[in-house]
């Protein structure tokens, strides 16, 4: 599949796409405004994946390599939006009011993702990159052209806001210090 894709074999490329696209679209969806934008990000990302696939050295998981390209594509697309830079630098937690109707009533993984997507664009992006994609604040600062301290403060505020949303949605309990799913067995 990998060799065929590098040789520009359409069937192999489609197989590779079919294998990774569902999870990668989930990644894009967390960054995007809506599903359509997410699909556009996915499209651009996979075009880069296929055109740069010959650079993949089998040194790590292919999924991780594809995921990094997809994330970078999402960030590049977001950065082209002027409002994005403003939202990363300007928005403060106390200026954002989360209305109850903004919180979707959807279950489990999708519920958590939808709650993340209710965050302001800047918060959401930093939270996605730090908490989920595993980038450091230094890397995030370089990717988004912001200060490292800004990334930290954005993440702190994003997490506080997301926690509030998840508690109000009764997905997590705030009373105990350990975060657990409602009704779920604690992992520890």
């Amino acid at each position: 599949m990998l060799t065929g894709s590098i040789r520009n074999n359409a069937a192999a490329q489609e197989a590779l796409y079919n294998r990774f696209s569902p999870r990668m679209l989930g990644v894009c969806y967390r960054f995007a405004k809506n599903r359509e934008d997410a699909e556009d990000m996915l499209q651009d990302g996979f075009i880069k994946v296929f055109t740069q696939l010959h650079q993949y050295r089998n040194e790590g998981a292919l999924e991780g390599w594809i995921r990094r390209i997809i994330v970078h594509t999402c960030i590049n697309i977001l950065k082209k939006n002027k409002k994005f830079a403003e939202s990363v630098d300007i928005i403060h937690a106390n200026s954002v009011y989360v209305r109850e109707e903004m919180i979707p009533s959807i279950m489990q993984a999708k519920q958590v993702v939808e709650c993340i997507r209710t965050l302001p664009l800047g918060y959401r992006t930093v939270l996605n990159l730090y908490a989920i994609e595993g980038y450091s604040h230094k890397e995030i600062a370089e990717m988004l052209d912001i200060e490292e301290s800004t990334s930290r403060s954005q993440y702190t505020r994003a997490k506080a806001m997301l926690e509030e949303i998840l508690v109000r949605k009764k997905i997590i309990q705030k009373q105990v210090k350990r975060t657990t799913l409602y009704g779920a067995v604690s992992p520890r």
């Binding site: 489609e14 996915l42 499209q43 993984a109």
Partner: protein, 504 residues
């Protein structure tokens, strides 16, 4: 310490749940990727564009053809063809209105019309007519047989029989069956396991089976939960990568027929402003049927001194994104057309004639006029003057634009439009039959006309705005002059469009 522990736990939760989340992209994403990776295989896009443009051109041509051309395709109720049995149209027998054609059928002894294709506004589906009418083929009354067949309601019985034999299930029916099937599987799973957190991560369409658990935790399940095929991947964490081909195809199929609520119209509609400076050309011809005094030279275009003029069109409109690659357009447009004629001003009126056409008989006849302007072709002008044949028009372009290719920021479009036009002013100079004089007559300009527009342009995304630039051709279908003027002028304009498009 505890705070760190809490933070780690919270982030762990986010990462786990986010990693579990999957969505299945629509087919068009892969098609777009494929087209980008294999640009040499885009012939369907080009073929489609050529087909559309050819169709529009053909429509324009047929509209401008003379009545004999039209007669090739239609015939009146009392004037049906005979002898060679060429049936040019098949008429509905409902009522006396014989213009309601169902289809055009070409018939010979060896070719039996198999299918009547229903017209766009008809509820009649394709029907096999071969068997019922085959007995009628020996004479020349096939059309009558068709009428009788339809009038006897046999056609409706055939349609009902065809519909009854349909075995394809409706999407909702398939979905309901799938839900029932999933629920039964899920119910077994629930019965065999303790109700624990694994249940709450179960497959979403099984919401009915796990409803009690969900309700006890005061978590609402909306319709959208059931409609989200993406969560099918969370059947269990162990086999979340093991979706069978059948399941994937079902998800895709389900996604096709159960799309989430569409975006607001604002997401699909853009407003466009554009201006197109253009060079105006024209082609002259004549209708001299039955005239004893036709034009002195039939090659009128080369008997006068003329040169193209600069025109302009400007307008605003709406673009509706009907599909990923297709936009419908409607708007209002102002056109200014201009054409220059080199002439010579005379100091005194000259009696001359122009050729008119009787709109009832179609025959031409001369009409006397006076003129103070002469044609200076092949002669030096004493008092040179430039005559400007110009019109002011307002039109309503209805068209489409098809995205041929492109990237996220640069796209290539091709499109066509159909522009009903009202001419509200202008100036016209008619050529005399002897080609020596011009007669100024603004009243000869036809008020209602039709333009066809063809364009191709590049669309550049500049933040929230799109810039569109590209060549454009506009062709006027009917003559600039009224029907009673024997001189026929068909102008066309070649311009360069500059447009700005913005979403709401």
């Amino acid at each position: 310490m505890e705070q760190d522990f809490y933070n780690d736990d919270f982030e762990q939760l986010l990462k786990e749940k986010s990693d579990q989340f999957r969505m299945y992209p629509s087919k068009r994403v892969w098609h777009s990727i494929y087209n980008n990776l294999h640009p040499g295989r885009r012939w369907p896009s080009y073929a489609m564009s050529i087909l559309l443009i050819t169709s529009l051109t053909l429509i324009g041509y047929l509209n401008t053809s003379d009545s004999t051309a039209v007669n090739k395709f239609t015939f009146a109720a009392g004037n049906q063809p005979n002898g060679n049995d060429k049936i040019k149209s098949l008429q509905s027998s409902t009522g006396d209105n014989k213009t309601n054609y169902l289809a055009e059928v070409s018939y010979t002894e060896s070719s039996v019309p198999d299918i009547i294709v229903a017209s766009a506004n008809s509820v009649v589906q394709p029907v096999n007519l071969k068997a019922p009418i085959v007995a009628e083929l020996n004479d020349n009354r096939l059309a009558q047989a068709m009428d009788n067949y339809i009038a006897s309601n046999q056609i409706f019985a055939d349609v009902a029989a065809i519909n009854k034999n349909k075995t394809v299930k409706e999407p909702e029916q398939r979905f309901t069956e799938k839900i029932q099937e999933d629920n039964s599987i899920e119910a077994e799973a629930v019965a065999s396991k303790k109700i624990n957190s694994e249940v709450t991560t179960a497959y979403k369409p099984a919401a009915h089976a796990t409803a009690d658990i969900i309700e006890s935790k005061e978590i609402n399940v909306s319709e959208s939960d059931i409609e989200e095929p993406a969560d099918k991947s969370t059947i269990t964490t162990a086999d979340k990568n093991a979706l069978s081909q059948q399941e994937k195809s079902w998800i895709e199929h389900y996604a096709m027929y159960n799309k989430p609520p569409g975006n607001k119209w604002k997401d699909r509609v853009n407003v466009a402003y554009y201006v197109t400076p253009a060079v105006n050309y024209r082609k002259l011809s004549t209708n001299t049927k039955g005239s004893s005094t036709p034009f002195a030279n039939s090659d009128i275009n080369h008997s006068i001194s003329q040169r193209p003029g600069i025109g302009l069109e400007a307008g605003a409109g709406l673009e509706y994104l009907i599909a990923k690659n297709l936009r419908l357009k409607i708007g209002t447009q102002f056109n200014y057309t201009n054409y220059n004629i080199n002439a010579d001003q005379t100091n005194h009126p000259i009696l001359t004639t122009i050729l008119l056409t009787d709109t009832y008989t179609g025959f031409s006849y001369p009409s006397a006029r006076s003129s103070t302007i002469s044609n200076n072709y092949n002669a030096s002008a004493q008092q040179p003057v430039i005559l400007r044949n110009r019109t002011y028009q307002v039109s309503i372009p209805l068209g489409f634009a098809y995205r041929m290719s492109g990237t996220r920021n640069v796209e290539w479009f091709a499109g066509a439009s159909f522009q009903p036009t009202y001419v509200f002013g202008g100036n016209a100079h008619l050529l005399s039959t002897d080609l020596k004089n011009y007669v100024k007559d603004p009243s000869s300009i036809r008020n209602w006309n039709l333009n066809l527009g063809f364009e191709t342009y590049m669309n550049y995304k500049l933040g929230t705005y799109n810039l569109q630039v590209g060549p454009q051709v506009r062709y006027q279908v009917y003559s600039t002059y009224r029907k009673n003027i024997a001189l026929i002028e068909k102008p066309y304009a070649i311009g360069f469009k500059l447009g700005i498009v913005k979403g709401f």
